[in-house]
């Protein structure tokens, strides 16, 4: 039995057909099914319904986009309403607000910017930049002591 580390290395980086991340070699090896995008085919039935009514998002109707716009409006109204009752959420207020913002972010990127329906390479490019931005963000806060429970003490 191969060394687990060697096996993991092979799975991650080898291009012999058995690896997790096969690099596309030619245009036809790039996946472009209707469900390509940030969530693959893992979404709830309502997303599969969206795929059906929009032919994979490529022939979406104005009605479809209007529904997405209404959802964004509803989420914004919810955000502002939750802001007015922040005591109700207590320590979870920040988490709830961030979750709503992330939801709106994903809806715009996935549907208005068509990442859900476009080639997965574009999702990879954008997500890479976004993840690096988050890392910079977290490292900066950590270096400044914002993530530690006790404030920094000057020497």
């Amino acid at each position: 039995m191969a060394n687990p580390i060697a096996r993991a290395w092979r799975k991650l980086f080898y291009q012999d057909g058995g690896s997790y991340f096969l690099l596309p070699k030619v245009d036809s090896s790039y996946p472009d099914p209707p469900n390509e995008g940030p969530f693959g085919d893992a979404g709830p039935p309502v997303w599969r319904w969206m795929d059906r009514v929009t032919y994979g998002g490529k022939v979406a109707t104005p009605f479809f986009y209007t529904i997405i716009g209404v959802w964004l409006a509803v989420l914004t109204i919810l955000e502002v309403y939750f802001f007015t009752i922040d005591e109700f959420f207590g320590a979870f207020f920040v988490t709830v607000m961030l979750l709503l913002a992330v939801l709106k972010f994903i809806i715009v990127v996935a549907f208005f910017m068509h990442l859900r329906f476009d080639k997965s390479l574009l999702t990879l490019v954008f997500t890479s930049g976004f993840i690096i931005a988050i890392l910079v963000f977290v490292i900066m806060l950590a270096v400044q002591g914002q993530l530690s429970p006790a404030p920094m003490v000057a020497p």
Binding site: D27, T76, A101, F112, V125
Partner: protein, 220 residues
Amino acid sequence: MAQAATVQEQHGHIADTNTGISNRKLLMWVFLASDCLFFGSFIATYLVYRNESIVGPYPNEILDIPLTSVSTFVLLMSSLAMVLALNYAQKDQLGLTRFWILAVAVLGAIFLGFQVFEFATFINEGLTIRSNLFGTTFFILTGFHGLHVAVGVLWLLGTAYAHFKGALTSRSVEDLEMAGLYWHFVDIVWIVIFTVIYLIGFSDGEGIETIHHAATIVGG
């Protein structure tokens, strides 16, 4: 089969590149990914200096949530208008495309108007870019976002002008798609700014820890 043909017609031809994606579109996504870093740095800077101002005005004294909620709504609806413009362009309905492009530009200009009003109000109430750490980080972040919106409005007006001149047809839908990607990105950045700075940061006040820290240094 007919459905596949319709998809092909609506989506335009597949780009003749190794990736099957047009180089311009790929480059635009790379640019947007790098712009994530640009705004991510400013938002991180804002959070690092959050609650560190030792003189006012503080966020809880000056931020106007109802006003900003309305401007946020306007920007969100401009994103909807943008995607409708692209949709009609893909369907070769040029009249509706022009209408929605102009609608996006007008909504973007309204958002900028809200921002100018907000900045003017803040300055009248004593918050400038040099007043305190809150003022510096706030104006840098929202100012650069406003600059992005202004560039987007000019871009869309240029696109609309080209459209009226007949330069933009259903064959150059990609031009509009690029403008749309940029515009939606500006929208998602504002989604984060609105939540982090306005809704979560509204309760921020005086920098108590900073005052204690300064007092320790002064007192030896």
